[in-house]
């Protein structure tokens, strides 16, 4: 066999965060993994992205032609929504529904009495830029009143005259029949071709007019932002990398080509934490724990995600800021506790930790030019639990300044606490916050967290997470290799994914199997075509059917997977059985045999399967791990504690706490009463030795 030129072998994941851009490269041939970090460039994130790629190629000694593909996680859409000024957005609705955004769901956020002092936020589109057009469908998609061409034309001209740049269309029951919305699109193209346009029947063909309207508006709002960004990326990449497959992370836990993303940019709206969840799922499975809760503690907040049976949970009732976005996204709860969370005294004199944060600027007190209030990071430093220098050892941290800040705070509190006692208390409070959030999240989903392991990554997590594991009584704490780069790693462990759905309400007794088959086949064709456009060979395409089903008369659906094969009576029986089972699991009961069901949404997800990176086994090296020692505060006193370099720990190594494991960008603390073992892949696994208390 003739030797062919060496095929491109490096798959590169680039995860752009607010402060750092993390890069991971996997060598498909050897399985070797390489990681690095560069500073993010918020003014034009494409520059940081390119620098990151260059840095990892340099480190690997590889040229651009060695790159097999790029996968990118970006928060451009999220940031546009959370920070961008929303101007120049228009909405077209059915006559009679002009106030749809003002009324919303009449909901006041939780907290009794809020209806008196809560102020409804400005709507995403001011009423003056909402236009009604004539024509009405019923829920079967039948026309009750014909489409009013003139009102649509008048709306288009109105928006052109006003210079409104992005317009969403949401007509009643458009999910059942897109004809009217498509006609609006044609008229817009004639009258105002420059406007960005999104149709609700394409973005979210699902019943519930308010949520569909907002989702469509968010989509059209982020379109120009995403378009600009991807064009910049294209410019920056240069000719050698421009031709490589470039995939973008979506909120649903899959990737898609930049071109697909531009069709429905909303699919990236909450993709930030998704890659971390997927990376966690890979690590947890390798470590032998298919059920885990993940903690991603950053500077200002912590993301929590539940992974059951190796799969991160999905939700379609998420939100970005105040905007409900009903597209499938990885189910993540965010709490306002992170490494930079400030310890402060509330108005009534009580000690609080977060949600105020020193963030990256000014940062904790111990940082060079740091803030003036002690943070969780300062507390960890004073207790000796984190090293006295920043990432990589370059910048020294000022422990004395942190200690002085804690002392000053302690002086304002009762109990004559020492700075160390206060530091310990601050961390305790943060741990209980995380514990309570995990409990709430698991209870909402009917899960007992004690059967789960905890997986901690992100810069500010592993120094405390083994205490959280103990507070809840979880199975173990898992710390992946390179915990600061898990999201970038996750980007490489992700399949292509495209979700397609349509609402069609059918009572169990009146299901038209032919119509249902037509719907499924239509969605399957759409999904397959989308993946084909991204160049996925048919052999690697997998189509998964799902359906949203509810008991007749209720308004809460459960998404269940539907059988493949012919859509016949057997299919239906399988689907209904799956619904009863899912209802039992989700809500603790079902009405199997007692109550009829309704099919609500028909869904198909298309997956383009990738070659997953294998986690390489840790090489055995000779010699014992080296330990330095320093005093670390546990259970009321400093105790001389061994400090290990993680890179020196061999597979299979075990040690009893207390111990501290340091590495680039993260520190893991093993508390007294806990034991640590290093698994064959270098994953740290911490368990309780006996039924012990926290530190």
């Amino acid at each position: 066999m003739a030797r062919t030129p060496r095929p491109p072998r490096l798959r590169i994941g680039i995860d752009t965060g607010g402060t750092f851009t993390d890069i991971v490269a996997v060598d498909a041939a050897s399985g070797a993994i390489r990681v690095t970090k560069v500073a993010s460039t918020p003014a034009n994130p494409a520059i940081g992205l390119k620098r990151g790629i260059d840095a990892i190629l340099n480190a690997a000694g590889a040229a651009p032609d060695a790159v097999a593909g790029l996968a990118h996680g970006t928060t451009v859409a999220t940031n546009a929504l959370l920070q961008g000024e929303i101007r120049s957005l228009g909405l077209i609705v059915t006559a009679g529904f002009r106030h749809i955004l003002e009324i919303a769901r009449q909901t006041v956020p939780v907290g009794y009495g809020n209806s008196y002092f809560w102020v409804k936020p400005e709507r995403i589109v001011p009423l003056g830029l909402v236009r009604e057009i004539g024509g009405r469908l019923d829920f079967h998609g039948q026309e009750l009143r014909p489409f009013d061409e003139e009102s649509a034309r008048a709306a288009a001209r109105f928006f052109r005259r006003r210079g409104v740049a992005a317009i969403a269309v949401c007509l009643i029951h458009a999910y059942a029949n897109p004809a009217h919305e498509r006609r609006v699109a044609e008229i817009m193209r004639e009258e105002y071709p420059d406007a960005a346009l999104s149709l609700s029947c394409e973005v979210l063909p699902e019943y519930r007019e308010y949520e569909r309207a907002v989702t469509t508006l968010v989509d059209v709002f982020v379109k120009p932002h995403m378009g600009r960004y991807l064009a910049r990326v294209h410019d920056e990449l240069g000719s050698a990398l421009r031709s490589k497959p470039f995939l973008v992370m979506q909120s649903n836990g899959g990737v898609a080509s930049a071109e697909q993303v531009m069709r429905r940019p909303i699919t990236t709206a909450l993709s930030g934490p998704a890659a971390g969840a997927l990376g966690s799922a890979v690590v947890a499975a390798v470590a032998g724990y298919p059920d885990v809760a993940t903690l991603d503690a950053g500077g200002t907040s912590t993301d929590i995600c539940l992974i059951e049976g190796g799969q991160p949970g999905l939700t379609n009732s998420g939100a970005v800021g105040p905007f409900p976005v009903r597209i499938p996204m990885i189910d993540i709860a965010t709490i306002g506790t992170g490494g930079g969370s400030i310890a402060w005294i509330g108005r009534e004199g009580g000690l609080k930790v977060g949600p105020r944060s020193a963030g990256a600027e000014p940062g904790p007190m111990c940082y060079p030019n740091g803030g003036d209030e002690p943070t969780i990071t300062d507390a960890n430093l004073v207790l000796g639990r984190i090293p006295p220098s920043l990432i990589g050892g370059g910048i020294a941290l000022d422990a004395e300044r942190a200690r002085a800040g804690l002392k000053a705070l302690a002086a304002r509190l009762p109990g004559a606490m020492s700075p160390e006692q206060l530091a310990h208390g601050i961390i305790d409070i943060a741990n209980w916050n995380q514990t309570n959030s995990i409990r709430q999240m698991t209870i909402q989903r009917g899960i007992d967290p004690r059967g789960f392991a905890l997986l901690s990554f992100g810069g500010a997590g592993p120094a405390q997470s083994s205490a959280v594991m103990d507070l809840i009584g979880m199975q173990a704490l898992i710390v992946p290799p390179n915990p600061g780069n898990l999201s970038a790693f996750g980007l490489l462990a992700v399949d292509w994914r495209t979700d397609h759905m349509v609402t069609k309400v059918m009572h169990e007794d009146a299901i038209d199997l032919t119509a249902l088959a037509t719907l499924y086949h239509g969605l399957e064709r759409e999904a397959a075509a989308t993946l084909r456009r991204d160049g996925i060979p048919t052999s690697r395409v997998r189509l998964v059917r799902e359906a949203d089903v509810r008991y007749a008369g209720q308004s809460m659906e459960v998404r269940v997977s539907a059988p493949g094969g012919p859509v016949d009576r057997k299919f239906l029986a399988g689907l209904i059985a799956a619904f009863h089972a899912a209802h039992l699991k989700t809500f603790g009961y079902n009405y199997s045999g007692a109550q009829k069901v309704e099919l609500v949404n028909v869904c198909v997800s298309g997956f383009g399967l990738i070659e997953r990176p294998r986690m390489p086994r840790l090489a055995r090296h000779a010699g014992k791990p080296r330990a330095r020692r320093r005093p670390v505060y546990f259970g009321g006193a400093f105790r001389d504690t061994p400090i290990y370099e993680r890179a020196t720990l061999p597979p299979g190594w075990k040690i009893a706490g207390a111990a501290v494991i340091e590495e680039f960008g993260s520190t893991t603390v093993v508390f007294p009463g806990q034991s640590l073992s290093v698994d064959p892949h270098g994953i740290l696994i911490i368990r309780r030795q006996s039924k012990g208390r926290d530190s």
């Binding site: 009449q106 909901t107 009580g350 989700t586």
Partner: protein, 630 residues
């Protein structure tokens, strides 16, 4: 006084004895407080996940409470019931782990349960063999028997029409279920399976909460945890004493407000009277002068447990006195407020001191009015620095047979506009119960033979003011079959009041629009016929306005007109703003606006602190007549 009433008069001790107590560790305090809030949320999530009644799952009508062993409420996410009646009938020394108590009797629960569908579970928490706390939950269940489905007969004249009344009973004894209680309860409802499952869901959630609470005691010890409870209660008390009360000058302030009908007698105003006596760090609420109890279902047995339930229900309105709305949202209200307020009830036999067996199922009218009543009294004491009035709960619906002959019943809780505040306009179309949701038109049309022709805000319904009242709904349902419509609504004659020169919002209206004529309906309708093709038009209340409408920035008035919230006519008559048509919409005519405002100012009298709307004078007349003739 019958035996039950006498029983329920016995008081439970609410305050712990002794002065000395351990110092509170600020770390443990923060952990205990955070965990109590989390336990409350966890119980709510568990109920939401496993309960079945739509009122619980979709309208979020259920409440959880955590209490210390003195029956003092510890958490402030929402109002809740009280365990006092359970402790009264079952001394804590006799309680055992695994006991669960059930009750719903509006009188024998000491007024902590307001209508019978709210079955309430109570679970004691144990530490080293002693009761140290209580966990409680009740939900609005779909039916507990009585004369009509849903157990809320708008024309009830006694509790015997309203359903099954359960005094405090032991549902579980040391973990063993009392099947007799269960079978009596389930035999007395139209939806036995759903009710049994709901109660089961609430019981299990409370037991879970009790385990979580016991863990706190195990970890930190009883003395430390109870010191935290005390500190949490005192914090609330001190916020009221030192932060909110100083905003009110010492003195006496009196006012009255009205429920506008009771379902069984001729429409008249049913008066709730309140005199607030403010002295330094204490407030006395004297309800003397409140009208006699009604023969209909609008009575509220509030005169138990020193009025603790009433205080915890209405005192939170004082949070509006906080420096900023953001600060108001931070203030949690627990039993600590009961040390700041004292209630003087009128003698037995009034709307808030009814005698058993007066009906109570529509007591929400009185409950909501009591909130607005205190807000109105306070407003007069602080020169109007309180929000104007709102009324954001009512039920509307349809029933009949659909085109295939199957029966259908649709019930919807539609909100309204909230009142203007000194810092913002009122909110449009909101509901007082947090997280409650309306029905999407695309759901309504799929489920019921109805077509939603218009889902809009009701133009001009918000009371005029410098800060306008929020708008109510103008929702049009076209009936696709012959059917009937139901309405349970108050504020149908008087508008939600305006404050500090602001005008009252528009009252609730519902009408049936036919081909030839429009029929107006009243606020309590048990099934008015609607023909296929006719439109039922529901217009809900706008909030009251705040401040002088002539001081509203003309640019805001222009925006309201552009948005369809205010008509051009009202811009001129209410706000004195003259608009002119331009090429691209409307613009303000500055000169004419200044002139018109000057003219309007010159021709009006002094602005009242509170405006009740044009319906008030007519209703006072009507009320006098009805009282006179009997």
């Amino acid at each position: 006084m019958n035996r039950f009433e006498r029983l329920s008069r016995t008081r439970t001790k609410r305050r712990p004895a002794g002065r000395s107590r351990p110092a509170v560790d600020p770390i443990v305090l923060q952990i205990v407080e955070g965990t109590l809030n989390s336990i409350e949320a966890e119980i709510e999530y568990a109920i939401e996940r496993t309960a079945r009644s739509p009122m619980i799952r979709e309208a979020h009508d259920y409440r959880v409470g955590l209490f210390d062993r003195h029956c003092r409420k510890l958490t402030g996410r929402s109002y809740s019931a009280m365990p006092n009646a359970v402790v009264r009938d079952f001394p804590p020394a006799t309680m055992r782990p695994g006991d669960v108590f059930l009750m719903n009797d509006t009188y024998l629960t000491e007024g902590s349960i307001g209508h019978l569908p709210d079955l309430c579970s109570t679970v004691p928490v144990f530490h080293r063999g002693d009761v140290v706390a209580y966990i409680q939950a009740f939900g609005h269940h779909d039916d507990i028997g009585g004369r009509v489905p849903g157990s809320m007969p708008g024309t009830a004249r006694s509790v015997f029409e309203e359903g099954l009344a359960v005094p405090p009973v032991k549902l579980y004894s040391a973990g063993v279920r009392n099947d007799a209680v269960f079978s009596i309860v389930t035999r007395n409802t139209r939806v036995p399976e759903m009710l049994a499952a709901d109660v089961d869901s609430e019981v299990q959630a409370c037991l879970m909460g009790a385990r979580r609470m016991a863990e706190l005691f195990d970890r930190f010890g009883q003395a430390a945890v109870e010191a935290c409870f005390q500190a949490i209660i005192e914090k609330c008390r001190d916020v009221f004493r030192h932060e909110l009360l100083p905003k009110i000058a010492d003195g006496e302030y009196a006012w009255e407000d009205y429920v506008e009908h009771d379902g069984v007698s001729a429409p008249r105003l049913h008066k709730l009277a309140l005199k607030m006596i403010k002295r330094r760090d204490r407030i006395v609420l004297d309800f003397t002068g409140t009208d006699p109890q009604s023969p209909g279902p609008i009575n509220w047995p509030a005169d138990y447990a020193d009025g603790a339930f009433l205080i915890k229900w209405i005192a939170p309105i004082l949070r509006n006195l906080a420096d900023t709305p953001e600060r108001a949202a931070e203030i949690h209200v627990n039993e600590g407020v009961c040390e700041v307020f004292e209630v003087k009830f009128p003698p037995k036999g009034t709307l808030i001191t009814p005698r058993w067996p007066a009906a109570t199922n529509a007591r929400s009218f009185v409950l909501l009015r009591a909130l607005g009543l205190l807000a109105g009294v306070v407003a007069q004491a602080v020169e109007g620095r309180m929000p104007a009035d709102q009324e954001t709960i009512r039920y509307t619906g349809f029933f009949g047979l659909d085109s295939t002959g199957k029966p259908f019943l649709s019930r919807e809780v539609l909100g309204g506009g909230s009142g203007g505040r000194y810092y913002a306009d009122g909110n449009d179309a909101i509901h007082i119960v947090p997280d409650s949701r309306n029905q999407p038109a695309e759901f309504t049309e799929t489920r019921f033979p109805l077509l939603v022709e218009n889902l809009a805000l009701r133009t001009d319904s918000g009371g005029a003011g410098r800060r306008r009242g929020g708008l109510g709904y103008d929702k049009h349902y076209r009936a696709l079959v012959d059917c009937r419509t139901i309405v349970t609504a108050d504020r149908v004659r008087l508008g939600c009041y305006g404050i500090a020169g602001g005008r009252a919002g528009a009252p609730f209206r519902v009408s049936i629009v036919g081909d030839s004529a429009t029929r107006e309906l009243d606020g309590l309708v048990d099934g008015a016929p609607v023909k296929a093709g006719e439109i039922v038009r529901v217009m809900t209340t706008g909030g009251g306005g705040w401040g002088d409408p002539l001081e509203r920035e003309p640019a805001l008035v222009l925006r309201d007109v552009t948005d369809g919230k205010v008509s051009a006519e009202a811009a001129r008559t209410e706000y004195g703003v003259v608009l002119i048509q331009t090429d691209d919409g409307r613009a303000i005519d500055d000169g004419k606006t200044t002139a018109l405002r000057a003219e309007l100012r010159a021709h009006r009298g002094a602005l009242p602190m509170i405006d009740r709307g044009p319906g008030y004078a007519a209703m006072m007349e009507q009320t006098k007549k009805v009282r006179w003739t009997g």
